[in-house]
Amino acid sequence: MSKVAEQIPTEEMEHPVAPYLRMDRIPHIWCPTCGIGTVVRCYADALEHSKIDLDKVAIVSGIGCTGRVAGYMRLDAFHTTHGRAIPFATGLKLGRPELLVTVFSGDGDLVGIGGNHFIHAARRNLDILVILVNNFIYGMTGGQNAPTTPTTARTSTMPFGNFERPFNLPHLAESCGATYVARWTSLHIRRLTKSFREAISRKGFRFVEVIAPCATLYARLNKLGTGFNLMRFYHDNAVIDHGADTRDLDISFQDRIICGKFVDKERPTYSEMMHEHYRNTLGDKFVPLPEEGGMIRDTGEKPDSKGKKPAKSQKRKASASKSSRK
């Protein structure tokens, strides 16, 4: 491999992941040895190997360090408000059902301020992939306590150590109804990428938790060394246990981290249940929102710039509406 590297002038080389990134925004804002970049790389690899139409992939982030991911991915990308990535994604997915919608955000965003949306999206089995980078702390704002901070770990708002109990996220996701649940660390590049690929190919509420180092705050406040030391810690303490009971996946301070795929099952998605129910109850009167979106177009007079046909709903006459007088 080194031979190849010698022969190609570096200025002509494109990073393999470049087509998936907004290279005009690089360098990114993440700290040295932060784990988020690695997770982004794994996600990009998974997209590449999944052979899906990237034009139909949308990514939504909330706020925080991981919240910046949407800003670097060369996809239809939305950087939303704190905690609201999942409901924003709900609108995107239901507004244009053909989209593959990924929510990519942090622990504070998705299960702190956004926890209510997380459990309800899982309950509904909304067809989205949720990637949660868990660094055990609020990084962007300076190291405050998170709903994932292990008990006794120090944070800037728990200077004498955290006395709260953290979430066991795979258990939370499974008990709310997620169809795919996995946990890896940012050290498990190959397994994490495989997990993303699997999750992309599944339907329903898919949840992948990735434990990632925050050297600047979590490691420093807890005197754990650098990001390298945390990666070494993952190496020594991550235990792969596929199919483990999610009740047993609590993470204690500087204790073992159980990784693996814990849930992979089929359950009808929100849209499938809605469609089936309306077909059963309304029969032919039911008109689903078109896969390509619910935009009302000019009735056939001139097609839009991409030459697509008008949406199905347009062709219907008002007759269906009349039967539903209140």
Partner: protein, 385 residues
Amino acid sequence: MKTDPSGVLTGQHYLDGDHACGEGAMAAGCRFVAGYPITPSTEVVERISRRFPMMGGTFIQMEDEMASMAAIIGASWTGTKSMTVTSGPGFSLMMENIGLAAMMETPCVIVNVQRGGPSTGLPTNVGQADMMQARWGSHGDYEIIALSPQSPQEAFDVMIDAFNLSEIYRVPVMVMTDECVGHMTEKVVIPKAEDIEIVPRKLTDKPPGEFWPYVADRNMIPEFARAGDGYRFHSTGLTHNERGYPVMSAECQQECVTRLVDKIRLNAEDIVRFEEEDIDGADVVLVTYGITARVARRGIDIARNKGVKVGVIRLIVVWPFPERHIRELAPKIKAFVVPEINYGQIVLEVERCAAGQTLTVLVPHMGGTVHDPEDIANAILEAAK
């Protein structure tokens, strides 16, 4: 373009304002609604959830109002016309994401069927005390458009306008109705689909690669790309440049916020809409909106019978405010009288625009009921002295 007939219930109906509002949304081409139950607005989404499955629309009852607001922004980015419906407490919860909609320049409609506040207040009774919140409720500088209907018929009509304005200016548009209009049942005439003009989403003609999501046209409005059309654009609530990329600088903030505000402020003359009556030679001009405009009719009659020349300005678009009009009228009259079901909100705007050139009188009423028309009449008589 003409609207999609599948959402139009053409004919004469006997509807309450909430149902008329729902019909207006569907006639305007709304096909995604996210909402959370709250009195006195819930009938709007009840109507929609019953009719949507037959016209290719999706209604989802979200877990709260923050989620509802976020969901309609997401749906709007697919080109689907989107709306949420709420009342005071829910309106408060929506505020952060209303700011996001303004910042991302997302067309969407928020209906607020106003009740008495603050806090839980009077859930089942009328109020008009969210008018300033509609204008200023989210943090930072931005502009929105707000309309206020006085009847079920107008609730239907302004919904069409609300969706159209949201498409033209790419802003969240608020329909500030109230419990009284919402629960009042009257005749509503719904026109034929071919007589309903709607504004389609202004999709860009540029090919992917040449398109940036926040390059504005002469009217300061950017072209739109839908998620899923291959543009792979980025949109953020952070201060951003024309590419939609965050830029944390005073220069970018200046450019970004100035345009967000000016696209409404400098187009305000095209947006403002009000009805006038007997303005020429009036001694006192009543400035009114929503249900109070109808209650005031009796007060005006009483005052006129006692010889006062009363003119009326009824605001249909409340925000942006008809600033120039009020300013020019002020020196010609003895007083503006502003009855509203709050302790003084729109009156502040009238006072600001009158700029000391004439008297401005508030007729406050804290809500629970509409005004006693006698109070409005007395205020007019007093102001005319």
